[in-house]
């Protein structure tokens, strides 16, 4: 924008473009436009491929660029609204969004979110909220990542290359499957090709909502494995449906944060958006080219990397022993 207003001087060389800065009114700092655009593109790519919001990656990087933690997290939610709209539509065209399942998970998620906020209040009152949050985070990521990784490596080895992910489910009837069938309100989820009680997605949605609120994340990382393993949905539909659900969660967070804390930086969100909506489109195309098992392995690796990084943060002595209040 600025460049067009000043055609004589602005951006005549690549170098000038790479160094172009813009001031963010709510964050109260200026950022390198190109860097933020690239960051948005990368995270958008991830959300298109895996159906995760990418807040786990975006927020710490933005903090590194000098954005206050609360503004980073809230503006990231605003940005995810754009990226997930873009990704969700692209997946919808491929027939990868199960709206019925998505709505049920969403309702559960909203209820769980309210419950989670109350849990946080109790934990804070008890005084060791940070400890519990960090431990939950590492254990969850470690457990989910390791299970997903091992499971997909095994099934890649076992399976004939033709067989799809859905074929694995009906083979043996575990106790879990029997319990699922015993629940009332059984219904068909056509897009996912599964028959389940409506209570299942609702309850799991509540659980993810609670965890997401406690951990202060969007929940894509927990939601995706739950849809794969507990709801037994095919991986590609999981990605599309997860994006659909994330879209609504982030709309809610953006409006709430703007209203109560004034922490959404619109300029920052738009810069990120330009990159992430583009990235989400490419991500969806990459996602389509990968098999369900390959997607799972990649996501599992990503989850494990994040877990290791968190663990290192906990174990290594920090450079500075003070942090700004208000962040996670």
């Amino acid at each position: 924008m600025e460049a067009r207003r000043d055609p004589e001087k602005g951006m005549q060389t690549v170098e000038e473009f790479l160094m172009f800065h813009m001031y963010l009114p709510i964050a109260g700092n200026s950022v390198n436009v190109f860097l933020v655009f690239a960051l948005g593109g990368f995270v958008g790519l991830l959300s298109g491929i895996f159906g995760v919001g990418g807040g786990f990656l975006m927020t710490p990087l933005l903090i590194m660029f000098g954005i206050p933690p609360t503004v980073a997290a809230a503006s990231d939610s605003n940005q995810i609204v754009g990226a997930s709209t873009s990704g969700c539509l692209a997946h919808y065209r491929l027939g990868n969004v199960d709206f019925k399942m998505g709505f049920l998970l969403l309702i559960g998620g909203v209820l769980g979110g309210f419950a989670g906020v109350q849990v946080i209040k109790v934990l804070r009152a008890m005084g060791n909220a940070d400890f519990l949050i960090n431990i939950t985070y590492v254990l969850m990521l470690g457990g989910v990542g390791a299970y997903m990784f091992l499971e997909s490596v095994q099934s890649l080895r076992k399976k004939a290359p033709e067989a799809s992910a859905t074929a694995a489910a009906p083979k043996k009837k575990s106790r879990y499957a029997a319990m699922m069938e015993a629940l009332p309100l059984q219904t068909d989820f056509v897009k996912s090709g599964v028959r389940l009680s409506m209570l299942m997605p609702l309850l799991l949605g509540v659980m993810v909502g609670i965890l997401a609120a406690i951990m202060g994340v969007g929940g894509g990382f927990i939601m995706v494995p739950i849809m794969v393993y507990l709801l037994r949905m095919p991986m590609h539909v999981v990605v599309g449906t997860s994006l659909f659900q994330i879209l609504f969660t982030c709309i809610n967070v953006t409006i709430l944060q703007s209203y109560t804390n004034h922490t959404v930086d619109f300029v920052l969100a738009v810069l990120l958006l330009l990159g992430s909506t583009l990235g989400a489109q490419f991500g969806t195309r990459i996602s389509r080219k990968l098999k369900g098992e390959q997607l799972k392995i990649l996501l599992a690796s990503l989850v494990l990397v994040v877990m290791v990084k968190m663990l290192l943060n906990l174990l290594l002595t920090p450079d500075v022993l003070l942090a700004y209040a208000g962040g996670h």
């Binding site: 600025e2 703007s258 500075v320």
Partner: protein, 244 residues
């Protein structure tokens, strides 16, 4: 009688001396600009400080925001191994920005001198205050720049100086105090100060007002624009013949 007269004379002499110092060889400064506007393309600014100190003194420039109460989380070890935010600590009367410029001649550790960051320490705990300075320096809010003050030959008992300070991009809208300390033998002989104002203009001013005065509308608008951006990108890619 005699005693009183002497005291009076001495007092008068001191007054005259002080007056003449203030008139002829006092300390003064001018800052340029004295209003920094923060527009869309703001990425920090240069502040030029010119003035004079009495001959023989050295000039130390300080730029400070208003003192505030600030809370931080202090990290500590939980269970003896895991680092995390354990408690909340409060610091009283610390400015959000503290920049210093010196001539770099004297071998003084300004961070730890009474004229530097120590001047705002108050009754804060040593460890916490040190970590606070580290955090502020890491993020560019506190800085000592040695060698930015240059002198011109003294004239008429005045020593003119010129200094350039780099104002960080993370300055908030507000009023800052820029002062020059005339330092002699490590002590402040004289002080002069000016106010520096920073103000949002253009798009940042508009968005900031929108976000704080109409916060609900702002949130809804932010969401709608994000959705439209997602839709637009999705349509562009569809029309480019991105086959299913």
């Amino acid at each position: 009688m005699n005693k009183i007269a002497t005291t009076c004379l001495l007092g008068l002499a001191a007054l005259l001396l002080a007056a003449s110092l203030a008139l002829a060889a006092g300390t003064d400064l001018t800052i340029r600009p004295n209003l920094v506007t923060i527009g869309t393309s703001f990425n920090g600014a240069q502040l030029t400080v010119t003035g004079h100190v009495p001959e023989g003194d050295s000039a130390v420039i300080r730029l400070m925001g208003e003192p505030q109460h600030r809370t931080f989380r202090q990290k500590g070890k939980a269970l003896g191994v895991l680092w995390m935010n354990l408690k909340t600590v409060e610091l009283r009367g610390v400015p959000d920005v503290f920049l210093m410029g010196t001539d770099g001649v004297a071998q003084v550790n300004w961070e730890h001198s009474d004229l530097g960051f120590q001047s705002i320490k108050g009754d804060a705990d040593d460890l916490i205050f040190d970590e606070f300075i580290k955090l502020m320096e890491r993020d560019g809010f506190y800085e000592v720049e040695n060698g930015v003050v240059a002198y011109e030959p003294a004239d008429n008992g005045e020593r003119p100086f010129k200094a350039t300070l780099a104002i960080p991009s993370a300055m908030h809208q507000g009023v800052y105090r820029v002062e020059v300390l005339a330092v002699k033998d490590g002590r402040v002989a004289d002080v002069a100060a000016r106010e520096l104002h920073t103000r949002l203009t253009g798009l940042p001013e508009f968005l900031s007002a929108f976000a704080f005065d109409h916060s609900l509308l702002y949130g809804v608008a932010a969401v709608i624009i994000a959705i439209l951006a997602g839709l637009a990108m999705s349509l562009i890619f569809k029309e480019r013949g991105g086959v299913h």
